[in-house]
């Protein structure tokens, strides 16, 4: 056989040294490469899926999930199907019998208070109704169930109790989302909004947006000159400045927040100083903490590095020759800066602003400690529902609304500035 024979193979197709057709061999090599690349990406992909995508999906699902009522009161839910909740009449004996049966099972499984707690989010008093009735239902051996159950607790004789149970028996509920915009569904199905003075979530959402924008603007105003200074200094000085910018990262968040309290409070360092030099009187001490001002100041300080760093990394790449060229062509320093230098920093401003804004929206410990009543964020409410009231459904709905708002801002940003323009370095 000649060399050409080996290369072309018996059939005339091009083959490799081991006799495989070139096409197959090439495909295999490419596949191996692709698998290798995939294997390299896989750990990150799995990590992101498990720690990010799945929890968020789970959270979104929690905000509509409501299987607990049907799970714990299956007979009652079935029996209530034929009851007209708008009739103004109590359900019939069969429903009461089903409730007693369900309560007995629930009491044995210790789930009666659990469903009571769920329904208590919708109507106060459900918690003790179910906790107390679990014990009492066990003692009801035979009918008439209606009479005996109402005797056990007079709340069972109220139509609204049954309306709430029926309204929240489906497995999915819009209730949490309605609550997150201060609305609720009345038993007849119409949606009713809370009086504006009693509304809480919409107010907090609006405030969170306004305060986060304010914090973004103050970090930009303070961060831009710092970043410019660092970017234009020789390496020796700029390295030191960078360390100073990063220094707060090495201190606990709580320490940074509480030191602002020591500085800003009415008997604090700044007020003491202003009184000492006679700028304000003893009675005119400024209220700079436990209000929105305090929250903006403390959070601006905490989030400043997130603005400075992207700005610096972008400014670093702008050649100083641009400015020199502009001035040598006759531009005054200000137009040269504004028309030549500044447009080049926009990608950094975009990156910094997005970072700061998104971080600000989610902060809760700093506003909790220094925000008083006028500086709290929606995240304080979310934390409350996660940690204290255990109303995770509502917390999830509030979180989902917040997520949606961030998405809207992101799309707006993309439309106005263009996301491709963003540069982190």
């Amino acid at each position: 056989m000649t060399a050409t024979d080996i290369q072309n193979g018996p059939t005339g197709a091009i083959v490799t040294a081991d006799g495989q057709p070139l096409k197959v061999s090439l495909a295999r090599a490419l596949r191996r490469q692709r698998l290798f690349a995939l294997a390299l990406v896989a750990p990150l992909f799995i990590f992101v899926t498990i720690s990010f995508i799945i929890p968020i999906a789970d959270m979104l699902f929690r905000s509509v999930e409501n299987s607990i009522v049907e799970e714990i009161l299956p007979e009652t839910v079935k029996a209530l199907e034929s009851w007209d909740e708008n009739s103004g009449e109590l359900p019939d004996e069969a429903v009461f019998a089903a409730m007693v049966a369900d309560l007995k099972v629930a009491k044995a499984n210790r789930t009666n208070s659990k469903v009571g707690q769920r329904l208590n989010y919708e109507r106060s008093g459900m918690s003790s109704l179910f906790r107390g009735s679990g014990r009492k239902a066990v003692r009801i051996k035979e009918g008439p169930y209606k009479e005996k159950l109402i005797k056990a607790d007079k709340d069972w004789g109220k139509v609204v109790t049954w309306q709430v149970i029926k309204q929240f028996s489906p497995n999915l509920t819009p209730g949490y989302y309605l609550a997150s915009v201060d609305a609720m569904q009345t038993p007849d199905g119409s949606i009713q909004f809370e009086d504006s003075e009693k509304a809480i979530h919409t107010k907090l959402f609006v405030r969170t947006m306004i305060m986060s924008v304010a914090i973004t603007i103050t970090t930009l105003l303070l961060g831009f000159p710092i970043a410019y200074l660092i970017a234009t200094q020789p390496a020796k000085i700029s390295n030191l400045l960078i360390i100073l910018v990063l220094l707060p990262f090495w201190t606990s968040l709580l320490v940074r927040t509480t030191s602002w309290i020591a500085l800003l409070q009415q008997k604090g360092v700044i007020n003491d100083f202003l009184v000492l030099v006679g700028l304000i009187s003893e009675d005119g001490r400024l209220a700079m903490i436990h209000n929105a001002t305090g929250a903006v100041i403390a959070m601006t300080h905490i989030l400043l590095p997130f603005m400075v760093l992207p700005l610096y990394s972008v400014m670093k790449t702008i050649p100083p020759t641009y400015m020199r060229a502009a001035t040598s062509l006759g531009a005054h320093p200000w137009p040269a800066f504004w028309k030549v230098y500044f447009p080049n920093t926009v990608p950094g401003i975009g990156a910094g602003a997005i970072l700061v804004f998104i971080l600000a929206i989610g902060y809760y410990i700093t506003p909790e400690l220094v925000g008083g009543t006028s500086g709290t964020f929606i995240s304080n409410r979310i934390a409350f529902h996660i940690l204290n009231s255990l109303n995770w459904g509502l917390a999830a709905a509030l979180g989902a609304v917040l997520l949606a708002i961030v998405m809207v801002f992101y799309l707006l940003y993309d439309r106005i500035v263009g996301i491709d323009n963003m540069k982190l370095g």
Partner: protein
């Protein structure tokens, strides 16, 4: 010099040997969750250290997560991996954990030691056993402290908190309706035994908020128990509510010019629950029998000014471990301090907390 060297080597060898011994014997690690700070320290001194000294096979690990215990336990339970063995919670949280099936039901007389005179545990704790899952340790109260040097006269009633003319200055109140609403109604002329009846109605809630509204502009709202002592010490507020043990620390240990106002203090309980699904149930029960006996509960009062939950412990309360002062007069349960008191109404707040809290928070935003 030589003997010093020998002693040093001997000490080193001994400590290594001791380390080796304990590492062999420490087979069971109990994760005990509590509040951290001075409170965990008091438990360490009164319960953990003596127990570990008696049982070298047990190692107790502290976790300061009690303020998020209910949420974390629920999450652990959903994930099917409960890593805690014993959790210190306030009674309201214990009731909720029991309701959700996240805490073990305890047979108090079987698990807990009887009093020294043989009285069964259930009688010794009496009506403080507010849940079948809950083992009370201490009675604490939420009450007021005031600056002795910044006020012209001495406040004597909780209603002085609402009197800006006589007691000008800022006040610290918890950013939470519980207790504040009760005090507001009491000072608005509602009879003590009708407070919850009134608060259970919409008009009652508005009435309480209207009363709080008279001082709203002078209130600093706190969310962590340590804030009020700090605010008082800095002179930021002239009076404020917090837990009595925190005030004891700032008055007696830090020697700040602050005094207690016990009028209408609100009693609450703090104690243990055993989480459902703990892997060391037997060991935990054994520990509980020791840590909640009459002497141990009395010992805790040496470190912190909270009253022991057992009746039989009260006569055993002695002096503070380091300050050497008599602790009995600092107990919220001391007759001189407990002339007018409220007991946290667990059932009322379990039913109405969500609703009233929502209204309270929206009132704060107005």
């Amino acid at each position: 010099m030589n003997s010093f060297k020998t002693a040093l080597i001997a000490a080193a060898v001994a400590s290594v040997a001791a380390g080796a011994v304990t590492s062999v014997q420490a087979e069971t690690e109990l994760v005990v969750v509590s509040w951290g700070g001075a409170y965990s320290a008091s438990q360490q001194g009164a319960y953990h250290d003596p127990y570990m000294a008696k049982n070298p096979g047990i190692k107790i690990i502290n976790d300061d997560s009690s303020n998020a215990a209910v949420a974390k336990l629920r999450a652990m339970n959903e994930a099917g991996n409960v890593t805690w063995d014993l959790v210190d919670v306030v009674a309201a949280d214990a009731i909720r954990l029991c309701d959700e099936g996240l805490a073990e039901v305890i047979d108090h007389d079987k698990v807990l030691a009887p009093a020294p005179d043989g009285t069964p545990a259930s009688e010794d704790f009496g009506n403080l056993l507010v849940s079948e899952c809950f083992i009370p340790q201490i009675v604490y109260s939420t009450t007021f402290g005031y600056r002795t040097d910044l006020l012209a006269s001495k406040p004597t009633s909780v209603c002085d908190v609402f009197d800006l003319a006589k007691f000008p200055g800022k006040r610290a109140l918890e950013k939470n309706p519980i207790n504040n609403m009760e005090w507001a109604l009491l000072c608005d002329g509602v009879a003590p035994d009708q407070v919850y009846e009134v608060l259970g109605t919409r008009e009652g809630v508005e009435k309480a908020l209207a009363k709080l509204g008279t001082i709203k502009d002078s209130v600093v709202w706190w969310s962590k128990g340590a804030q009020t002592p700090q605010l008082l010490a800095d002179g930021e507020v002239v009076m404020g509510s917090t837990y009595n043990g925190r005030l004891f620390a700032v008055i007696e240990e830090e020697k700040q010019p602050i005094a207690m106002l016990w009028d209408w203090q609100v009693f609450d309980l703090d104690g243990w629950i055993v989480p459902t699904g703990t892997k060391n149930k037997a060991a935990v029960m054994e520990y509980l029998r020791f840590a909640t006996d009459t002497q141990r509960l009395a010992d805790q009062a040496k470190f912190i000014s909270y009253g022991p939950a057992r009746k039989s412990s009260a006569p055993l309360v002695g002096k503070h471990a380091t300050l050497g002062i008599d602790m009995a007069p600092h107990m919220p349960t001391d007759p001189a301090n407990a002339k007018t008191t409220l007991l946290y109404n667990y059932e009322f707040w379990a039913d109405n907390r969500d609703d009233i809290d929502e209204r309270f928070q929206s009132w704060l935003l107005q």
